[in-house]
């Protein structure tokens, strides 16, 4: 699932990624812009996804990304992997990892590297 939490309408990147995942053979649920962490977590559980990719360019990642992880835990869905991307300064990486975000991709990351990470870390059932 590709999701954009918070007040951020810049979803070109998220759409490019969704298409790239489609071409990699993944089923991709795209939930659109302006989602609350609650909406994202609820959708992830209803869709029973393997992975949630959060995109945030607004600077609110430190608040929103960990919230999604926390909500998934509350919903007994801690097994759903959460990764993130966007305009994220390096000093924020550690706190995000500590909160349960498994990988972070910033501008310049190649599409291939993201697909590769997913293929390595999410095993087919």
């Amino acid at each position: 699932m590709v999701a954009k939490p918070g007040l951020d309408g810049h979803d070109r990147g998220a759409r490019v990624l969704a298409r790239c995942f489609r071409d990699a053979g993944f089923e991709v649920i795209y939930t659109g812009c302006h989602q609350t962490a609650e909406q994202i977590a609820a959708a992830a559980v209803q869709e029973d996804v393997d992975l949630v990719g959060l995109s945030c360019l607004s600077g609110a990642h430190r608040a929103l990304f960990p919230r999604v992880v926390e909500l998934l835990r509350e919903k007994n869905a801690a097994d759903i992997t959460v990764i993130g991307g966007g305009i994220i300064p390096e000093q924020d990486f550690q706190p995000l990892y500590a909160s349960g975000i498994k990988a972070i991709f910033t501008p310049g990351a190649s599409l291939d590297s993201i697909v590769e990470w997913i293929k390595t870390n999410i095993k087919p059932r």
Binding site: D23, G25, T31, Q39, A43, E47, D48, K75
Partner: protein, 318 residues
């Protein structure tokens, strides 16, 4: 059967994982689905179908809102196409319905077609059972954007809504077989656009001189406006909700429901037969290399596909 109990209690995690196992054709699923069957058959199943981009998802979203006002619990299955090249899919129907994501009375699930033609995913029949067992009052099934003939939805839904938009063809299109015959309710969406009146006239002319699929029910036509004009849109959606209710009452009172239930039962048996005969047969043939041999024979024109199929069927049925 722990999971079946959980599904019947409305456990979202259990239900969504079961639907996924159905999609992935896990062998363990069949026994669970068998046990689920006793808890199904109480929901009103509504199909929403039409060409790509006519507004099926937006209409589904509006319907959810209208039906929630009447305190109905709702399950939604939204089908989108799988890529024939990569096997991947973009499931985007949900974007239009995300405002209901946190509503506990609404369960929304996206499904990819995974190669199934007919406008649905092969998992739809069993996924409906899961939602029924969860106790949903109403189940909305949104098909992929379809053409004229992908009408498998009639095998699953009690009521079928066909969504049209102006500007897709002249009155001959309205007369054609297939899609235009299956509607219990027509919606002319984007009715603020030019050509909507003409489409309405053509539809009514068509409905006026054809035998309706169920005697005693002439499919009503709802004009539905621009979703960005919330007031008029809410009004037309409420009208649609009312027609849906009327149709269900009609089905029950007229006995037409029996016919729909027959069709559904037949389709379900058909699917189940495929799952217990055809799929394991092909799976076995793939595994023991017989399928490849058969392909070679047909390719080199040593034998015809019909004789080969007969031979294979004979050996399998022994």
């Amino acid at each position: 059967m722990e999971r079946v109990k959980k599904v019947c209690r409305g456990d979202i995690r259990a239900a969504s994982r079961l639907i996924r196992d159905i999609e992935d054709k896990m062998p363990s699923v069949r026994i669970e689905i068998k046990n689920l069957f006793a808890h199904t058959g109480k929901s009103h199943i509504i199909g929403i179908t039409g060409a790509p981009g006519v507004g099926k998802s937006t209409l589904t979203d509006a319907l959810i809102a209208a039906l929630r006002k009447k305190n109905k619990t709702i399950g939604v299955l939204a089908v989108d196409p799988t890529s024939p090249f990569s096997g991947g899919a973009i499931l985007g129907d949900r974007i239009r319905m995300q405002r209901h994501a946190e509503d506990e009375g609404v369960f929304i699930r996206s499904l990819a077609t995974r190669g199934t033609l007919g406008g649905l995913s092969q998992a739809v029949g069993m996924a409906i059972h899961v939602l029924e067992a969860m106790g949903k009052d109403i189940i909305l099934v949104e098909t992929v954007g379809i053409g004229q003939q992908e009408i498998d939805i009639i095998n699953h839904a009690h009521s079928v809504i066909v969504v049209l938009v102006p500007g897709m063809g002249d009155e001959v299109q309205a007369m054609k077989a297939g899609l235009m015959e299956i509607a219990d309710i027509f919606v002319i969406n984007k009715a603020d656009r030019s050509g909507a009146r003409q489409l309405l006239t053509e539809l009514q002319a068509m409905l006026g001189n054809t035998q309706p699929p169920s005697p005693g029910w002439r499919p009503p036509v709802i004009m539905s406006g621009n979703a960005y004009e919330p007031l008029t849109f809410a009004e037309s959606t409420a009208a649609l909700g009312k027609k849906i209710e009327e149709h269900y009452i009609y089905l029950q009172n007229s006995g037409a429901l029996t016919e729909r239930l027959n069709r559904r039962a037949l389709a379900e048996i058909n699917d189940a037969l495929k799952a217990v005969i055809l799929e394991p047969l092909i799976h076995n043939l793939e595994k023991n290399g017989e399928l490849q041999k058969a392909v070679e024979k047909v390719k080199n024109r040593e034998n015809d596909p019909h004789s080969i199929a007969e031979e294979l069927a004979q050996s399998f049925l022994k």
